[in-house]
């Protein structure tokens, strides 16, 4: 325990290119890049699958199947295969980000798909009955209704990415995982435990931020605890009240 506090209290560990602030920023940067890339692929695809109902079996199997693939092994394979093709620092970073994106896609895809699929069929019928085009139906009804599940998918992906970015330090990329891996290499338990504590705090913080954003973005009509029939209220809002 003392080793941990000594390491954290040492001002030398809080500055420079391998200090705690820089490593934290690296960690957040990798995670943000990963999430954006994964969301660009998975959100439209998930919405499309939910909207059309095509490829449903694929999503379910993909999500379950990916869970059984050990992350660490996948990371090492990616670096050993792609590393020699690239030069310099990106030889490690590109395959690492690639693996992170691959891991982040299934939860986002599942969230987007489940969100659209969970929309009350009567809300969909009502929107069609009002003469909405398929495009309006998707953007004005299905997406707003899908936001809670879409965000919970993004949230679990973010959690997974922050955790896996820690492990990625074992393939020579930056981030807070460096302290855990380097501490292990130098038999410096203070550094390992200090880094681990920071990683844990960062993960909890990221999760709380996502929980907060989720609350802000989601329409109050949906998050009301006893709302029966999802989206009833947002439909009502579409009808001009005379």
């Amino acid at each position: 325990m003392n080793l941990l506090w000594e390491w954290l209290a040492d001002p030398a560990h809080w500055q420079g290119a391998d200090g705690i602030p820089v490593r934290t920023l690296e960690h957040l940067l990798y995670s943000a890049i990963t999430l954006v890339l994964a969301a660009v692929v998975a959100v439209p695809l998930g919405l499309w699958i939910g909207h059309t109902g095509k490829g449903r079996v694929l999503v379910v199997n993909l999500v379950n199947g990916m869970r059984s693939v050990p992350t660490l092994g996948l990371l090492f394979v990616a670096v050993l295969v792609a590393g020699p093709l690239l030069a310099g620092n990106i030889a490690f970073l590109v395959p690492a980000i690639f693996v992170l994106v691959i891991l982040a896609i299934p939860p986002i895809l599942a969230g987007a798909y489940a969100g659209v699929e969970s929309v009350d069929p009567s809300a969909r019928d009502a929107a069609r009955g009002m003469g909405m085009s398929p495009r309006q139906l998707l953007f004005d009804v299905e997406i707003p209704c899908a936001l809670p599940l879409l965000f919970s998918g993004l949230r679990s992906a973010a959690l997974q990415v922050v955790a896996t970015a820690t492990i990625a330090a074992s393939v020579s990329v930056g981030g807070l995982g460096r302290f855990l891996i380097d501490g292990q290499a130098y038999r410096d338990y203070g550094q390992m435990a200090g880094g681990a504590l920071l990683v844990a705090l960062l993960a909890v913080l990221v999760d709380l931020v996502f929980a907060g954003v989720q609350r802000l973005v989601v329409s109050p009509g949906l998050s009301a605890p006893r709302a029966t029939g999802r989206c009833r209220r947002s439909i009502r809002r579409l009808i001009p009240s005379t």
Binding site: M1, S68, P70, L74, F76, V77, T164, Q184, A193, V204
Partner: protein
């Protein structure tokens, strides 16, 4: 393939260690989650702190939790006990909510009928509520089992021997074969555990099949 055949014994013993490290936390976690889930279901006010509290523990990345465990347990960093306790925490975190949901899904008429038949609260829990919640709990248990198998392999970064050691060895020697074998062995183990839980659920809930056959 040749590497695999040459190292069959080694892979086999790592697989057994891996299975033990993944299954023990699953069993202990389930046994802890059942009373906690019952509390969360029985006392409304406890639900949020229990579910949110264990959920918070679940957000801690596995490698960090493995490293922090010795501070709590006092064991050495290489002690597999750290992995077992950390995975038990994850399992409990996943299952508390599932158990509470599973118990909540038991129809009121059924519990009322049981009470009317003079079945006491404790007996009702074990003979009526819990068996009826088995399918829901089993679904959560399958998720926990599969993710445990993946998380155990991370402990190889700390030098704890199991299938993940094939990843670190292969990576250190720039040699793909052991890594591929390790990945496949992990996936086989995950599928085997999944099937085992599926089978156990069928055995424990004979009425589900009886309903379908009739």
């Amino acid at each position: 393939m040749k590497w695999f055949l040459d190292h069959l014994d080694e892979v086999g013993s790592l697989l057994v260690t891996h299975a033990v490290l993944a299954v023990i936390p699953l069993v202990i976690g389930l046994m802890l989650a059942i009373p906690l889930g019952w509390l969360a279901r029985r006392y409304r006010g406890l639900r949020t702190p229990l579910v949110a509290g264990t959920g918070l523990l679940y957000t801690i990345p596995s490698l960090a939790l493995f490293i922090l465990m010795p501070l709590v347990l006092g064991a050495g960093i290489l002690n597999p006990l750290n992995v077992v306790v950390a995975l038990t925490i994850y399992t409990v975190a996943l299952l508390v909510r599932t158990v509470a949901d599973g118990l909540a899904a038991v129809p009121d008429e059924v519990t009322q009928a049981a009470t009317a038949m003079g079945i006491g609260r404790v007996r009702r829990f074990f003979t009526v509520d819990l068996p009826l919640a088995v399918p829901v709990i089993a679904a959560g248990l399958r998720v926990a089992a599969v993710s445990n198998v993946s998380i155990v392999s991370v402990a190889a970064l700390l030098g704890i021997e199991q299938l993940g050691s094939l990843f670190t060895d292969g990576f250190a020697r720039n040699f793909l074969d052991p890594i591929i074998v390790g990945i496949l062995a992990c996936m086989v183990l995950a599928v085997a555990l999944d099937l085992a839980i599926h089978w156990l659920t069928r055995v424990l809930t004979p009425w589900q099949r009886a309903g379908r056959a009739a």
